[in-house]
Each structure stands twice: as C-alpha cells, then as structure tokens.
C-alpha cells in the first residue's frame, strides 16, 4: 500500500525537500555540503553567528528560520534523526569567527550526543562557541530534571530573539545571556489528536482512539502523559494554559508571548479558536498577551494537534521578538 504522501524514494526525502526549499527561497538561503542550510548573504563576521541542528520532517523548522535576524547555519539530519557530528563540526567551522557562535541544541538524545561530540572537536580546534540546550517541555512535570524535558517549538522564538540580539551587535556573552533568560522563562505543552505516517518507514508514529487526544505527545510520536477524552477548545485551552502559567510562574500583570504551533493537520481555524480560549482564561488571571502567533512553525508531519507555548516577556525580549527578520518561514518588517 503506497503512503498517502507526495514523495519519491523515501530514502531521498531530505535531499529532495532541501532542493525544493532552495528553489523556493534562493533569495534567502543556500544549501552547502548537502545538509547545511546557510544564508545567501552571510552575516558580517563581526557579529555573533547562530548555529543549530536537528532532524528533518518538521518543516518549516528548523531551516525555515535561517536568514537575516534569524539563524546563520542549520544542519539538517534525516527525518526525525539528528545529523551526524561530522556535518555539525563542518557547520561550526563555517561559522567560526572571533565574535563567536551561539550553538542552539534541542534536548533530544540523538541531537545532544551529536552536539556534544561536535563540541569536543570544536574545543580541540579552538572554535569559540557557547552551547544552549532548549528543554521546555513540561509534560514530565514543570520541575522535572532538565534532561527529562524535550526541546519543542520554543527553539523558534529563541532563534528569533537571539538572532535579533546578534544582528544588534551584542557580544556572545550578551546574546547567550538574553537567549538563556528567554529559555528559562518559557514552557511548552503539546497535544495530539491524530497520528501521522513516518515518511521513511510508512508506519504510524503512534496510535490514538477515535474519541481520544493525548497531552504531552512528543514531536516524533513519543508518547505523552497518556490518552484522555477529547475536550472542547476552551476546556483544552484552560487545562493546558493553566499548567504553562504555573510552570513559568506568570502572575497578574505579566506579559506573555503565546504561540499555538500547529503540528500539521490541525487547521488555522482551530488555532485561532484556541487562541480565543487562551485569551479568555488569561483575562481571568489579569495576564496580558503581549504577542501571539498561530501557525505551523515546527510540525510533526501531518499529525493533528498543536504545541502551546508561553513565555514571560520583558521589554528587551519583546523588542527582539518583534525586530525585523527575513527568513523563509517568518518575515517581520
């Protein structure tokens, strides 16, 4: 039985998607050495560079955020699989500069191991970098050890904020400090409604009954906190957002960045309805939405569901989040 996907040889998914990506966005990005997405117009070497890595299959993430005001280098692995250390060190060499590199890694076993091995090599070669690991998934509990918390969509606004700080000419220590402050004040909780087909194996990445959804589902089909009955949008909003608000210790008067990140098959219509539900709940707490986004930043193939992201913002973080950028997936004037 063929997959219900528009693909050619499942072995060439990443290669072919990067070819199309380069055609669509040739004005912004180029692909070097097969799997390293870089800016078409490199950032001046006087400014801090942003490098990240991660498996494909999450389009537009991660490489859709390479460009002015965003990432400088995105090392692409195969579907849901981190790229190997050799490519990662290659990208770090390309980015090497006296200003230094902010090296952003999402907390997933493979990604972290690859990053660590590449970092070892970078140390030997005297490449100046600081590694920042995102781990904002509160599914295992808001105060679970950092190693247990996956890196989810939070990396995207973090790229945006760190990217803007780098464009502004901040030093590596400053960019790292700003990004870390955002990293420490953000949280994500995911919910899945329908499974997706792994485009290489052709298998469902998980199973879910017709009347069930699952909170805490990972972005590769890793199980969450177990299935539950389907709730209304407003109930789902309150149930998820109340946990996020606790996790980031948001209180009356605080200003949030709120993101409803669709996983694939959940419609923008639903995301807007969810955002409305979130607003209603936050109003009862006297917490304001300083910035909001509904859309698909980091997807899980055609999985139905979304990741709800919230971060406590201050003026500096908000200014960098709203600063101009020109990337394939996000343009801000």
């Amino acid at each position: 039985m063929p997959m219900k996907k528009f693909i050619n040889d499942p072995k060439n998914l990443t290669k072919e998607l990067l070819e199309g990506f380069a055609i669509a966005h040739s004005d912004i990005v180029t692909v070097k050495s097969d799997k390293i997405v870089c800016r078409a117009q490199p950032k001046p070497a006087s400014k801090v560079a942003l490098v990240t890595l991660g498996g494909a299959g999450h389009e537009p993430a991660l490489s859709g955020f390479v460009g002015e005001g965003g990432l400088d280098y995105s090392v692409v692995g195969d579907i849901f699989a981190a790229p190997g250390p050799p490519k990662v060190i290659e990208a770090l060499r390309m980015a090497k500069r006296d200003a230094g590199i902010l090296f952003v890694v999402l907390n997933h076993a493979g990604d972290v191991m690859c990053a660590n091995m590449a970092a070892e090599m970078a140390d030997k070669e005297g490449i100046k970098y600081k590694m920042l690991v995102t781990h904002e998934d509160i599914a295992p509990g808001a105060d679970a050890p950092a190693e247990d918390k996956r890196g989810l969509v939070g990396c995207i606004p973090l790229y945006k904020i760190a990217g803007a700080a780098a464009e502004a000419g901040k030093s590596l220590d400053e960019v790292f400090a700003i990004a870390s402050r955002f990293n420490d004040n953000m949280a994500t909780l995911a919910v899945a409604m329908r499974t997706a087909t792994h485009p290489a194996s052709g298998q469902n990445i998980f199973e879910l009954a017709d009347d069930e959804m699952e909170i805490g589902m990972g972005q590769h089909g890793e199980a969450g906190t177990g299935p539950s009955k389907i709730l209304s949008a407003d109930q789902t909003a309150e149930m998820m957002l109340s946990r996020l608000v606790l996790a980031i210790k948001a209180k009356k008067g605080d200003r949030l960045l709120l993101v409803i990140n669709g996983s694939g098959a959940t419609t923008l219509m639903e995301m807007y309805i969810m955002l409305g539900g979130c607003k209603k709940y936050l109003d009862t707490l006297g917490i304001t939405i300083a910035a909001a986004h509904c859309g698909e930043w980091l997807t899980v193939q055609e999985m139905a569901g979304f990741q709800m992201f919230a971060a406590r913002m201050d003026d500096e973080l908000l200014n960098y989040f709203k600063a101009p950028c020109s990337t394939p997936a996000l343009t801000v004037k």
């Binding site: 699989a81 250390p85 690859c114 247990d148």
Partner: protein
C-alpha cells in the same frame, strides 16, 4: 590452538552484522514505535549500510584505518541516537587495534572492550536503564570470560547470547535515557529497540567469523 582473524575476516564479520540488520530493521522500527519515535530500524539500517559501504570502499589492509573510516561514516549517517553511539563504538575499536594485523581471541575481546568503553562515555547509561548498554555490557563480560577458550567464535557466541538475554531483560525496565525516558511504567513489557539491535549485531559478528 590459538585461532586468529585478519583484515578480511573482520570485514566479513562486519558484513554479517549488516545482514542481520537488513533482515530485521522493520521489526526494530516497530519496537521503537512503542517506546520511541518509530525510526530505530531506519537509523540502525542507515548506520549499518554506512558500515557496509565503508568496508567495501576501504581498499587497504590497516585495521585501525578501516574501523576509523567505519566510525566516521557511521557518525555521518544521520543515525539519531544510534549514529553517535555506534560511531563511538567503532572509534574505540579502531583505537584498540592500532598496529595490529592479526587478532587472536584476546585482542578481539580487547577491541570490543575499547569500543564499548568509548561508547559508555557517550551513553552514561548502566545496565537496567533500558538502553543499548543492557546488551553491550553483558556481552562484554561474556566475551571476557571466554578469552581462556582462545576461540573467537565461542567468545562472540557467548557475547551474542548474553546480549540477547540483556535485550530481553529490558522488557522489565523503566527507561532512564532516550526518548522512552519519560514514559515511566508504560514502557514495561516492551523491549528496548537499541538493545535488540545490539544483540543482532553480536549474532552477526559470531556468525561472520
């Protein structure tokens, strides 16, 4: 009699392990679907195909160089967690065979010991953490115990049996590493795919010599 193996026999040993993964990768992805993200069969197949390619392409006779190339190509194959883990295994094996051309039973075991020690540094997992180490560590103990026999085949057979037992045992464990780590009791009853792969690798090694 102290039997030994040379470069080409080690190539055959590696290719035989590749064969085991080619035959079983779909089952391995199904296992990963239960406790992880359903791609372990894909990633281990990709890494082992990289092994096969490196072995065929490397027209030399130097064992260290062969295993070093294998390690690098494995790491370069987008193997998720599997790539860096097996990459460091082969890197450690490569270091351990420096200068050797013929390996007797003791040096074969020393080669694996070097690899597994290097892997263990990346892994940080112990027996009972529901990872590849649940197969690697018992396998290492078993082959060490078999060194006196002097028979490489026996040592690898013992290792394969121990690895298989270790993989089977992971069914009882909760996961402390990898994507399964947050699932608590829900992974109990499911074998860890990585440990099953490792047992298949040793099955291949033992049949390949």
């Amino acid at each position: 009699m102290a039997e030994t193996i040379n470069y080409s026999q080690i190539c055959a040993m590696l290719q035989s392990a590749v064969g085991q993964i080619r035959a079983n990768h779909e089952m391995l992805s199904r296992l990963d679907a239960a406790t992880g993200d359903g791609d372990h069969g894909t990633t281990i197949l990709r890494t082992m195909e990289a092994v096969a390619k490196a072995v065929t392409e490397n027209n030399g006779t130097d064992l260290k160089e062969l295993l070093g190339k294998v390690a690098w190509d494995v790491m370069d194959s987008d193997g998720g967690s599997t790539g860096p883990l097996l990459g460091s295994l082969f890197m450690g094996m490569s270091d351990a065979v420096a200068g050797k051309t013929e390996l007797d039973c003791a040096s074969v075991v020393a080669m694996f010991e070097g690899g597994i020690n290097k892997l263990a540094k990346q892994s940080r997992a112990k027996v009972g953490d529901k990872t590849m180490m649940d197969a690697f560590l018992p396998a290492l103990d078993a082959m060490k115990a078999a060194v006196p026999s002097g028979s490489i085949r026996t040592a690898l057979q013992q290792a394969a049996e121990a690895a298989a037992k270790g993989a089977e045992a992971t069914k009882q464990f909760r996961a402390k590493f990898g994507r399964a780590r947050n699932l608590g009791d829900r992974v109990i009853g499911h074998a860890d795919p990585g440990s099953v792969s490792v047992s298949l690798l040793f099955k291949g090694f033992s049949e390949g010599v």
